[in-house]
Amino acid sequence: MAANFAINNIRDFEFIIGEWLPTERVFNYPQFADYYSKDDIKSVLGPILKMCKEVIEPTNDDGENHPIKFENGKVTTPPTFGPLFHQLQSEGWGTSNIDKAPDAMVMPEMLHMAVWELIGAANPTFMPYVLLTTGAADLIQSFGDEKLKQMFLPKMMDGTWSGTMCLTEPSAGSDVGDILSRAYPTDDPRIFKIKGNKIFITAGDNDFTENIIHLYLARIEGARPGTGGISLFVVPKYWVNEDGSFSDNDFQTTGVEHKMGQAGSVTAALAAGENDGCRGWLLGNDPREHEGKGQGMAQMFQMMNLARMETGHMALSCIINAFCNARDNAKERVQGRLLTNPKAGRVAIINHEDIKRTLLMGKAHIEAIRAMMYRVYLAFDQRERDPDPEVRKAASDLIEMTTPLCKAYPSDEGWWLISEAIQSYGGYGYCEEYPVAQIARDMKIYSIWEGTNYIQSMDLVGRKMQMKGGSLFGAWVKEMVDFCEANKGNEALAKEFAILDKALKAYQEMLKVYAGYAKTNFSLVPLYSRRVLTITSQLYCGRQILDQAVLADKKAKELGADHYDYNFYSGKVASAKYYLHNVVPNVWSVCEIIADGDSSALEVPLEAFEYM
């Protein structure tokens, strides 16, 4: 038994949603007012925490012990995954939360994401089945007509059917514009014949839903080349007839990948229309009537943006569970004596300086990343439901701006952070009997799929920083400057504010240098883009966790050291101090590197790599 769900409380969620973020307004939106308040966080997350431990954690082992199989054209999933999928979907914890019907029973996104964070920690390889179904249903809800919505949504929301996103092909990965899948008109202008091959399709097949609804990118004959000519189709595994019955849709699974981790998650190679019998519904315009322009990429981006948030969040789930396990181990494992008091005998390793530092490093990163993500999830609720168009717009801007950070930063840092959780176990961490090794294997994919983290960094520097002539980004940076300014008088955290201030100044200088590179030596832009993304995230996370610390410091002082909640608040202050003193200084150090502008990686002859 390797898997272990070690999260034992939901206190930080209560702090974030109930105390820190301005969530009152969200709870008062008509959709929620009768059902939710700040006091209800526990009534939702409490039972989920219990369910994660008792029901979901055991399925994680199932993923390892019964990994995906592909035999005689059929995929077999771990036996407990299907029942879990049906349970979570039918009970309202999954896809149905996107339901836009006025009377839909849904919860605020920030609360829903806390549910997913916990479930994701309990079984990360199961989650994609729910996430992909949700993304696919969201596209049909946004771009499908009433007929398609009626045909697909109820069954995708209640767990009867599942969904996928089909972009990648053997010759088209990071550059989706190169896809070879084609669509040919039929007598019905909405229905096209689909022909092509997709690879790496997560949840691309399974043995537990009646049908699988693929959201499939293909180019209609006559549309433009590149991403601009691509269209999006709803291609069901089994064609759904008017009366709800199924016909064959000439859609085959041709293989599954054997991967480093995520053993319970299907990664399928799919073939559409090998016998010219595959059909799909077109979503949106026919490019032949719009100068060859397809809407597929723009539509798919809606799903990808959600999936990017979820990818970063899944990385966070993995980091948390790794560190909660590391903490429990460090409390139990007795080894060595205190350097400062060797006569006191052997101690649990949690008492050693280096292990304590490792744990606080994990806790600080977790809380900083979580602070960033829930700040953005609050914006999801505002964008969707706030009556004030200004609030909706500001929320939408924030989401646009931060999506690449939320995707890439947790998934980049997660890899080495979890490696440090492994390190804290010593040799046991390297053994599969303990859970951390599997968590590392499962989490690595998050920096790769949904656009590699390099693609995210180019999205940040090439698109997000430039949106509306750079004014959005400018306002976003200024908000952090204003935050420092507003807290100038905070004595308890004066040092930490000084660090954030110093980092911000260095960052603003760096931006000028970097903008200069865009004009003088453009290759330096992609050369440094990933590092720009990292420090941009560290600044933003630093700002958020310091804001939390201001509140936590106040509460800790009000309550006093004897109060049962004191350790929670003082622990939050410690996390913020660690993050500001040990992580944020990386911002100015990287700024110096960028200003130095070393271009050896551009100049090195390719042949030099032969001599490594």
């Binding site: 059902y35 009534s43 409490g46 939360n97």
Partner: protein
């Protein structure tokens, strides 16, 4: 048929118990439905799913915090709740009087409860409630069949099972092995917000038990460790058993 379930709010079974000023410190402790009562709630819901129960009423006696336990039961699928406001220091007798009073007003066909509470473990309340109301009581049941105004209950008995038939109304208290309580669904949690919960003052009753003192179990004494060659260790161990523990060999 109306089924009433008595529910107690208890400490989380994982909670670390600490004493402060001679009393159990409850600040910050996670509170849950007594796990045995949760089984009774699930049993009631299953009776409703079978079409036997028409309405499920949850009754909890305790502080306002017990409202959370009622809401959880409503989220699982019960229909409405009654919070009998009572000092948490009430003993089993006072608790049973308060519950019996509320139950009498409801006039249910079946009264379900867990057979014991996970905190004080006294196993008294259902029996006392039955006694006060003059109703039959079947304890530690693992299954129940309802036919007309009769309940056939299977319960644990030494070395086997016992099948008891009682006429309704009756108090029936559950063993954990009766069923596997469900987790509240999202829609259940939302629906629970709109289900009615009435509050009532507890009927007056003096405690019969006076608690003199709370104390935690003494910390385990450190063991002794013998580190030597096996034969030396064996000799030392034998001497220790003979002289210190004074094990007598007959």
């Amino acid at each position: 048929m109306k089924v009433l379930v008595c529910v107690k709010q208890t400490f989380d079974t994982e909670a670390k118990i600490e004493l402060k000023d001679g009393k159990i410190a409850d600040a910050g402790i996670n509170l849950i439905i007594n796990p045995y009562d949760e089984v009774a709630v699930e049993g009631a819901i299953q009776l409703k799913e079978k079409g036997i129960a028409k309405e499920i009423v949850i009754v909890a006696a305790g502080s306002d915090k017990a409202m959370d336990a009622i809401r959880t039961a409503l989220a699982m699928g019960a229909d409405r709740g009654i919070l009998v406001q009572q000092d948490t220091a009430a003993d089993e007798f006072a608790r049973a009087v308060a519950l019996a009073e509320a139950i009498k007003a409801e006039n249910p066909n079946i009264i379900l409860a867990g057979h014991v509470a996970a905190d004080d473990g006294s196993s008294q309340v259902p029996t006392r409630v039955a006694e006060i109301l003059g109703l039959p009581h079947v304890n530690v049941i693992t299954a129940v069949e309802i036919a007309g105004d009769k309940a056939t209950c299977t319960s644990e008995a030494d070395g086997g099972t016992q099948v008891t038939e009682v006429s309704l109304p009756a108090v029936i208290s559950s063993q954990v092995s009766w069923n596997e309580p469900r987790y509240p669904s999202m829609k259940g949690i939302m629906a629970a917000k709109k289900k009615p919960v009435a509050t009532a003052a507890a009927a007056a009753a003096e405690n019969k038990v006076k608690i003199l003192e709370f104390s935690l179990p003494p910390a385990k004494a450190a063991g002794i460790k013998l580190e030597d060659e096996p034969e030396v260790c064996a000799t030392k161990l034998a001497e220790w058993m003979k002289n210190t523990v004074k094990v007598e060999v007959k």
